[in-house]
Symmetry: C2
Subunit: 452 residues, 2 copies
C-alpha cells in the first residue's frame, strides 16, 4: 500500500493567524475565536476528517516591530488579541474521541512544577490525546511583558529547553511507578513506597518534590517541535516525536527533511523516527473553476499593512521603513534578509519586491497553496509528499472554518479513494495512534546528562 498522507489542522486562539486581512471575508468566522462553540464545531469537523490532530499556535507577546509599535497588529488583529490555547482543549475533548491536541506552550514563562501538572491534567481529561509543541519564544515584547528586559539569546533558550525538558520528564516519567496507584476501596489509594520525589537543579530550575498528578495515559505528552535553526533542529532531533516545518517549494522542504532525518540519526535520544508535517493551505471546491473563484475572491482581502506587520514580527525588520517596491536583497538585516530569501526560494529565477513577498505569504503563511479540484489538489499533495519525504501536512486556513470543512468534504474522500488516507482511527492514545507505542521511549543519553 502506498504511504498514507496525514493531516493536522493549524489553528490559533486569535482572529488573524497566518492569512492577514482574510478575517474580513464574509464567510470567515474568525471573530468567533472567543466562543467554545467555534472550537467544538471545528474539533468535530476535524475528527470527521480523521485528522491526526489540531495544532494550536501561541504567542505571549505582540507583533510590535512594524512601525515600532503594536498599532498595525491591533488594527488587523495580527495574532492579537490572543487567548490561552490550553483552555480550548477540555471542551473539544468532551465532544470528540480520537482527535489529538498539540498545544504550543512557551516554557520560558511557565514555572515547571505547575505546568507539569497542567499537562498531566489535560492528558487525563483527554484520555491520552495531548501533545506539547515546545517553544522558547521569539518576541522581545513577550520578554518585556513578563518582566525581563529581553529574551535569552537564541542558543541559550535551547539550552534552557533541554534542562527544562529533562526536569519535567522526571516528574512525568519517574515520580510515580506504574503500579503506584491501587485505588483499592478495601485498602489504600496509592502505595507511598512507589511514589518518589524527583530533583533537578540546573539552568535556574530548582525542583524538589513528587509530581502532583498520578500517571496519565501517556505520562509525557506527545512532543512536537518546529525549530529550523541549527540549535532548534538539534533539539528537535534529540527530543521531538512530531515536527512541523514550512517552506515555499519542494526543493526547500526536501532539504529540510533530509537535514532533520540526518540530525535525528546523529542526535536522537530514542531512535524512534519522528513524523514530519509541512505547512500547506488548500483552496478547493467541486470543480477547478469553483476553487479558482474562491482563491481570487480570497486574494481581494489580502492587506499589505497586515502582511507586513506579520512579516516584521517574524523577521525583526521594520518594513514600514522600506519602500514596498524595493527588492528583498536591499533589506539591511541578516536575519530579515535570510527570512525573506527563505520565502522567495519558491522562485529563484526572478527578484522579489517587499510587497510581492507580503502578497505571497498572505494566504496561509510560508507554505504552498494547493488550489483546484479535489483531483488536482490530491495530485499536488501526493507529488509534494513523494518529492520531499514528509509524512503529512499541517493545514493552515485561508478562511475559517471553510478551509477545514472543504478539506474534509472534498480532499479526504478523494485521498481515501486513492488509498492514501486512512478510513478509520487507530485505537489508543495519541502516541499509540501515531506510533503504535504507548510510552515515550527512554532516552539513551539521559543517564549521562542527569543533573544532581
Amino acid at each position: 500500500m502506498p504511504q498514507e498522507i496525514r493531516f493536522n489542522a493549524f489553528e490559533m486562539a486569535c482572529v488573524s493567524h497566518q492569512s492577514p486581512g482574510l478575517w474580513r471575508h464574509l464567510d470567515d468566522q474568525s471573530f468567533r475565536y472567543k466562543s467554545l462553540q467555534y472550537w467544538i464545531e471545528l474539533a468535530q469537523t476535524l475528527e470527521r476528517g480523521l485528522f491526526d490532530g489540531i495544532f494550536l499556535a501561541d504567542v505571549l507577546g505582540l507583533y510590535d516591530v512594524y512601525g515600532g509599535g503594536p498599532d498595525a497588529a491591533l488594527r488587523h488583529a495580527i495574532q492579537v488579541p490572543v487567548n490561552d490555547p490550553l483552555l480550548l482543549v477540555p471542551a473539544m475533548a468532551a465532544f470528540t474521541q480520537n482527535l489529538g491536541f498539540g498545544v504550543t506552550v512557551n516554557l520560558s514563562y511557565e514555572p515547571l512544577y505547575p505546568f507539569a501538572r497542567r499537562m498531566s491534567t489535560l492528558d487525563h481529561l483527554t484520555e491520552g490525546r495531548i501533545g506539547w509543541n515546545i517553544v522558547t519564544g521569539y518576541l522581545d515584547s513577550a520578554a518585556r511583558a513578563n518582566g525581563k528586559t529581553k529574551q535569552l539569546a537564541h542558543d541559550d533558550r535551547y539550552a534552557l529547553a533541554e534542562d527544562y525538558l529533562q526536569a519535567i520528564r522526571k516528574l512525568w516519567e519517574e515520580s510515580w511507578d506504574d503500579d503506584a496507584v491501587k485505588a483499592d476501596k478495601s485498602g489504600v489509594y496509592a502505595d507511598p513506597a512507589k511514589v518518589h520525589a524527583v530533583h533537578h537543579h540546573a539552568s535556574g530550575i530548582e525542583l524538589s518534590g513528587i509530581h502532583l498528578s498520578e500517571p496519565s495515559p501517556q505520562r509525557t505528552p506527545v512532543l512536537y517541535q518546529a525549530g529550523t535553526s541549527p540549535a532548534g533542529r538539534r533539539f528537535a532531533a534529540r527530543n521531538a516525536e512530531c515536527i512541523f516545518i514550512s517552506g515555499p517549494s519542494k526543493q526547500v522542504l526536501k532539504g529540510r527533511v533530509t537535514a532533520l532525518r540526518e540530525d535525528q540519526r546523529l542526535y536522537s535520544t530514542s531512535g524512534k523516527p519522528f513524523l514530519i508535517y509541512a505547512l500547506a493551505t488548500i483552496v478547493t471546491g467541486e470543480t477547478e473553476q469553483e476553487a479558482e473563484a474562491k482563491y481570487q475572491d480570497y486574494k481581494r482581502y489580502v492587506d499589505a499593512e497586515a502582511s507586513l506587520a506579520l512579516m516584521s514580527g517574524w523577521t525583526g525588520v521594520d518594513f514600514s521603513t522600506l519602500d514596498p517596491a524595493s527588492t528583498v536583497q536591499h533589506v539591511e538585516n541578516d536575519a530579515g534578509r535570510s527570512a525573506l530569501e527563505n520565502i522567495t526560494r519558491a522562485d529563484l529565477s526572478r527578484s522579489w519586491t517587499v510587497s510581492e513577498v507580503a502578497q505571497h505569504l498572505s494566504i496561509g503563511g510560508i507554505g504552498p497553496v494547493f488550489k483546484g479540484s479535489p483531483q488536482q489538489v490530491c495530485d499536488q499533495l501526493e507529488e509534494w509528499q513523494a518529492a520531499t519525504g514528509i509524512d503529512g501536512f499541517n493545514i493552515a486556513f485561508a478562511v475559517r472554518p471553510e478551509t477545514f470543512k472543504s478539506v474534509v468534504k472534498y480532499i479526504v474522500p478523494e485521498l481515501q479513494r486513492r488509498g492514501r488516507y486512512r478510513t478509520t482511527y487507530p485505537a489508543g492514545t495519541l502516541r499509540e495512534k501515531l506510533f503504535g507505542c504507548a510510552r515515550l521511549p527512554v532516552p539513551h543519553t539521559l543517564d549521562s546528562r542527569k543533573a544532581s
Copy 2:
C-alpha cells in the same frame, strides 16, 4: 420576602477533599476525578439545583507534616494526587448556561502576565461565569517544589497579593477601552488608540505591556477569598466580592460575619457588600431515618490516620507524635492549638481528645453537618442563616456525587416551597447574577496606591 439562601458546591480535582476515608464508600465516585464526564455530570446536577457556582479548591503541594512525610497523604489520597482545577471549567461550561465557576489559584506560583490571559480566556469561554479564589498558599512543600526554600511569611504573602491584584486589575480593566474592539469587517479589528500598555513595578512584579486578551464579559473575574487571619480578613474586606468562611457553631460564625462586615466598612475599596458563604455538609434523604442511616454508614468509613494527616497539614502539628487520647490543650504549638480550639468551639463545655477532633471533622471538614429529613435540614439552614447573617452555604460533600444529588433532589425543592430559594437563574454574567452589576466597582483607594 424572607432572605434567600444561596448554595455553592465545594469541590476539588482530587480523590479525598475534606471527608478523609469516605472515598472508599461503595457509592462514592471520587476515583472519577480524572474524567471529564464526572465534572460535566456534576455541573449539570448543580445547575439543575440553581447553585450559584462550583468552588474548586486547590493545593500545589503535599500534606507532608504528618509523620514528617507524604506517606499517609498518599495512602489515603488526602488532596494528592491533585489535578489542575482551571482545566475542568471549559468542559463544564460547554454543558451549562448559568453555573458559576470559582477557581482557586495560588498567585505565589503564577506569573502574572500569562495568568491574566488565562482568566480572561476562561471569562470569554464561559461567557462571563468565571471567579477567582485568591490564595497565597499555606504549604511549605509547595514552596519547596517550586524552587523556594520556604514560603513567604504570612503577612508578606498578603502584601504581595495586594500588589499582584493591583497589577493584574490594570491588565483586566485599564488596558483595553470598552470601545477598543470594532471587529468591523469593512474596517479595523481594534482601534490602537484605545489599547494601552500598563505598567507595574512593585513587590518583584515587573509588568510592562498591553493585555493579550480583548475585554471579556466581566473583565475582572468575580473575586473570592477565604482568609480568616487579620491580614487575610483585611485583604478580603478590601478586595473580595464573595467570602467563604468555616466554623463549627453559629456563635463562631456569627463572630466572623460581624468582624468581616466591620472590616468591610473600614477597608472596602468599593463599598459594595460582599456575599458570605459558610461551609456545611448535608446528609439527607426521604426521611429522618434514611438520613440517619446514611450518616451512620458514612461514619464507618472515617479513617483516623487520614483525618490526622489532613489536620496536620492544616495546623502544622505532626499528630503522629501525639497520643490520640491526649486532649487538645496539650498540643504544644500555638498555631496548631488555636486551629484545634477553633474546631472544638462547637462545644466548649467539655474537653476534646485528638482522636475526637479527628472524628469530628471527618465528614466535610470544619463545618456543621446538617442531617435529617428535608424539613429538618431546611430548618437548620434557616436557623443558621438567621443566627449568623451569612448569605448562603458552601456545601462540602461526604460522598460524591451523592451529597450534591440529594441536596438538589430534596433540599432545593423544600427551600423553594418555603420561599427561601430562587426558582430560576437571574440573567447575565456571574457578577450580574450575584450583584446585579456588570463590572467590578472602581476601588476608591486605588489611585493613591498606584505604583509607578
